[in-house]
Symmetry: C2
Subunit: 644 residues, 2 copies
């Protein structure tokens, strides 16, 4: 056994032991050191770079590592084998992906407004903001030698008498605590209860009469990359707590396909489920509850919005049928999931509502997002775009809706980009470039004076748009101007330095290269070709879109003009674009709060047509035509011009 | 910390560590060494004797330990404190109570006949021997790109189509395994399903079409002292496995009151629940499954017959309200218990049917026993007597039924008797005494030549009846003849030696003393006075009883003539007595097998009147009159004569 030490910028070390010949990435995973490996560890993405600081590794040079980098000790963890005691430094960019980090500030006014707006929009559309949960105040007769009815029948009788319900169910948890509560409170109690649509009552909990009872609800958006949660008061809709974190599954692959593959290995499905529940969701719950002094067992209901793979992996179900033709998931909707089934640390009888999936590649995050986009309530034709690791689109109005999904890859969230990162501290989120000097001006997420360590999605859009506008790159994304910030390596690959090592918060230059640009062009091309293909399938042109609702983790900093200039969004008047933030979480929140909204979401799912893009013959040609800046047909993008 | 060693006759030692001043009985319990302490550890029963073999204990001499015994190292564990390293021997009698032991041979022909008879009797009375479980063979259409319905809807649709059910529920366990099973078996499956009385289908499990599927069911009788179980095939009624063991709760007290008190200590309810489930029921399940090659998760339904305290402690519910006026349990009946709620190691969705309680002191063991006694189906008046730690009686016919309970104490199962033990190896189960020589002849349970170590219930009845018949004791139970087997100690207390140390299988004489006899007289007096009081309350005389059905763990060896002679049972023709064995287990078995039987049992419970004996003014006088052999009114027992 050899000693393996992982070192972090923060100064904390993690030490473990490994056999000769063991793969360094595997060792890291077993030790819970999250080295980012979006490709799942097959040497194709080049993101799992670590720097040797002591000892040796049996590790080849790959196309992702320059001679200079290799000389300086950089290695890809996924192709490195242990051959002795070794210490490696895990760079800040990778460690920034570690799952506990804070991703977005949910307590900003803009974020709160999103939930308020969602609620108000639904109410304006006639949906009641009431749900099935309530607190019943129940007085029972005190038993005596002449009235020896047992506790359970006594409570059931009193509830029936008061509510007129014909069926009342007391689960095990309530049975076990009932005797004590009844006797401590002279048979006067408050019950947390739910009335089903059939009028049956389920009693979740029982408290003494004078206890202060808040019925907690949990809304969760499980993104492939980021997980966000709200703790709410089910009766008032008040947001009690908010938190978000990276999806702990990220170390098993950045996209759903790699995670499905990982889940099919022995014990894999359990591992993936643990990564999302025990490592991500439960700590979020704990964090919110601790911050607000709320008890997790007082959370009696939970709503989840997630793509089909995420909700299946969370439920511990097989993902392979989702990935393999004919792409059949275990469920589109289910009402058979309870917190105790999957180890969510809230009240064990809490029902888990899952926003319904429409297909293997259009999931509950989209139905929940469509719900709050209000697309279904307007006569005008709107386009809803969720920019996630998969891009999903919904187009329609109050009469019809159509959806499709395209594989954008993780580029919008910083994946597949050498200096890419999520929209968190140190990320360049916006940028302009001086045409003459070619020097950039950028803003960095974080505190005043935060140094840049990478680029998030909105930053990449700006950088590419600016490189194109200033003629530094051509429509194919190749570098065509020279300067101190433009470099070419020994293979001729060009790159642009946004921040030299000394200006950067990282151990190396923050730069964007032609491979990155190519990856991003393919991502934006996937989105735009999907829009064109879907619209064409129903004889619509992009000019006929009345409004565009953009959602997703790309960040509120997204510059719509630049997104149009690079050919990602259709070239329509800029005021038609609306960034609606995390619509998936907002959808989950409203489903929790409003029984009408929950039903509406099921309605939307069953009425939405799904277009499988791969079955449309013209889609590939369209995609290829989109893999330019802005497009091979520049007439589609009159706003996009290179300054001469 | 001092080292504490418990030594057993078997040669196995158990070693642990304890603080100075710790109570030896507590140390034993923490270490899972089951020293019998029926009184719950308050020095009143004298059963927790251990023998010092090394070191010292801070331990007073009590009335239960003679000078000679004290000199030989005997101490009561419950009053002994640790004061240094110590080793004690736990005597065979106590170790015989350890919970893993085999108590009764369920595979004997007599035992099997009891279950067969119960089934046949119910069928003859018009109850169908069918239950709600079945195996559904389901063929689904194989999905394609044109038919992308998800797995759960596909199965539900197919089941609805085939059965006409309007509601089908798939629990979490089924959802998680479905994808694999469907794809391995080309969407042709067998489902373990249950149809509710409302016609809804619940799917417990799904198997490939060609799998051999047996729906297992588990019937359990939880006695205060003994737990017995049957593993059955739910579709055929076949008994696949049988097992029994001592109730692991015994170390917290021999009777329900002491256990309730123990359960009210901090963490007590959890400890009592663990003792019955993890230490007793789960090992029985494992034992039966291993012996028959059956998988525990293929047990999909369970029926429990137990007294009110036992079913509450099993369910982890508070016992105190049962014990305190007005004696209100949490439930009489409940359908809210599932295997996973309380950690029973069978299929996690298995429903636990509990034979209904009638009151705090007449529980499901009695309703289940009444069910198979067939009392409710005959015009003749029958008396059903369950001789357990509590004695319970039911009297009636097809028109009415009345029940009552009396506290007999553990004497019938060997408790409260210095050499008492359960009906297991080494127990004297039958005995005659030569009037002249006063020498006994006895039969001992166990292999040929088994040496006696104590007396079980039926043995005690015989010994007392014979001591009385032969004039060795008087009607008050005092020794009035002299001889080598009759001794008096320094306080004048008489005793009779059945086996001297050298003939015995134990380390001391097997004897019965006046305290034992007195305890037993009070036990039998409780039974007979209960019979008289209950019958008198409805103006019946004992002569009007047409048949007596005796059930319970006293053992099939019970000599009814002797039981009448000591005044325990009414003096009616001996052919009217029927020993029906463990009617509680037989009742649970039929409830599992027959939906009609289950319903009938609920009917019986709601139609049975309960007489609280303590509210009948004449009961105490009656009881005192019964505390003689056979009774102060000898005219009630013409068959009981002392030979002169």
């Amino acid at each position: 056994m050899f000693k393996v030490t992982f070192k972090f910028g923060s100064g904390e070390d993690v030490t473990t032991f490994a056999q000769e010949g063991e793969n360094l990435l595997d060792v890291a995973r077993k030790t819970n050191v999250a080295i980012d490996a979006p490709c799942g560890g097959n040497a194709s993405c080049g993101k799992c770079k670590v720097k040797l600081v002591d000892g040796e590794l049996d590790s080849p040079k790959t196309r992702h590592i320059s001679d200079e980098e290799y000389g300086n000790g950089w290695r890809l963890a996924c192709v490195s084998k242990i051959m002795g005691d070794v210490a490696v430094e895990v760079p800040d960019i990778a460690s920034a992906y570690r799952s506990r980090m804070k991703v977005a500030d949910l307590s900003s006014k803009e974020e709160i407004a999103i939930f308020e707006n969602a609620k108000n929009d639904l109410e304006a559309a006639g949906l009641a903001l009431t749900n099935s949960m309530e607190i019943l105040e129940i007085s029972m007769e005190v038993p005596s030698l002449d009235d020896t009815m047992p506790d359970n029948e006594r409570l059931v009788r009193a509830i029936k008498k008061q509510t007129g319900a014909t069926s009342v169910r007391l689960p095990y948890q309530v049975l076990t605590k009932m005797a004590r509560v009844f006797r401590d409170s002279h048979f006067e109690v408050r019950c947390v209860a739910r009335t089903s649509s059939a009028g049956d009552i389920f009693v979740y909990d029982v408290y003494p009469k004078d206890a202060e009872v808040v019925i907690g609800g949990l809304a969760i958006d499980i993104g492939t990359t980021t997980v966000s949660a709200l703790l709410i008061n089910m009766l008032t809709g008040e947001i009690i707590g908010k938190a978000s974190a990276g999806n702990g599954q990220i170390r098993y692959g950045a996209d759903v396909i790699n995670r499905i593959i990982e889940s099919m290995k022995p014990g894999g499905s359990k591992k993936l489920q643990e990564a999302i529940i025990e490592e991500t969701i439960n700590p979020l719950i704990e964090q919110m509850c601790r911050a607000s002094g709320f008890l997790p067992e007082h959370i009696y209901r939970m709503a989840v919005a997630a793509n089909t793979t995420m909700n299946h992996l969370m439920a511990g179900m097989e993902g392979d049928p989702i990935r393999m033709e004919p792409y059949i998931p275990t469920f589109y909707k289910t009402n058979s999931l309870f917190a105790s089934d999957i180890g969510i640390h809230i009240n064990r009888d809490a029902h888990i509502i899952i926003a319904p999936n429409i297909g293997s590649y259009v999931g509950g995050d989209i139905t929940a997002g469509t719900l709050v986009s209000m697309l279904w309530n307007r006569p005008e034709f709107s386009l809803f775009i969720d920019l996630g690791t998969n891009g999903e689109l919904v187009f329609g109005n109050s009469d019809f809706m159509m959806s499709c999904a395209c594989s954008a890859g993780p580029a919008f969230e910083g994946g597949d980009i050498s200096c890419g990162m999520r929209a968190t501290d140190g990320a360049i989120e916006a940028c302009t470039i001086d045409k003459k000097t070619m020097d950039p001006s950028y803003s960095v997420i974080g505190k005043e004076g935060e140094k840049p360590i990478g680029l998030c999605g909105s930053g990449i859009i700006d950088v590419i748009a600016e490189l194109f506008r200033t003629g530094i790159i051509n429509p194919k994304g190749k570098f065509v101007r020279e300067g101190k910030r433009v470099r070419h390596d020994e293979y001729g690959m060009g790159s642009y330095v946004l921040a030299f090592e000394e200006e950067a918060g990282s151990v190396k230059d923050v730069e964007i290269n032609e491979v990155d640009i190519d990856n991003f062009i393919r991502a934006k091309g996937a989105i735009f070709s999907a829009i064109r293909t879907m619209l064409a399938s129903i004889d619509f042109e992009v000019e006929m879109i009345d409004d565009v609702y953009v959602a997703g983790g790309i960040g509120s900093g997204i510059n719509m003009e630049n997104a149009v200039r690079i050919g990602m969004f259709p070239d329509i008047p800029i005021e038609k674009f609306h960034y609606i933030g995390n619509s998936s979480l907002a959808g989950a929140y409203t489903m929790l709060l409003s029984r009408d909204a929950e039903r509406k979401c099921y309605d939307l799912a069953s009425n939405m047509t799904y277009l499988e893009l791969s079955t449309v013959p013209s889609y590939m040609d369209e995609f290829v035509a989109c893999c330019f800046i802005p497009h091979t047909d520049t007439s589609l993008f009159p706003s996009s011009v290179q300054e001469s």
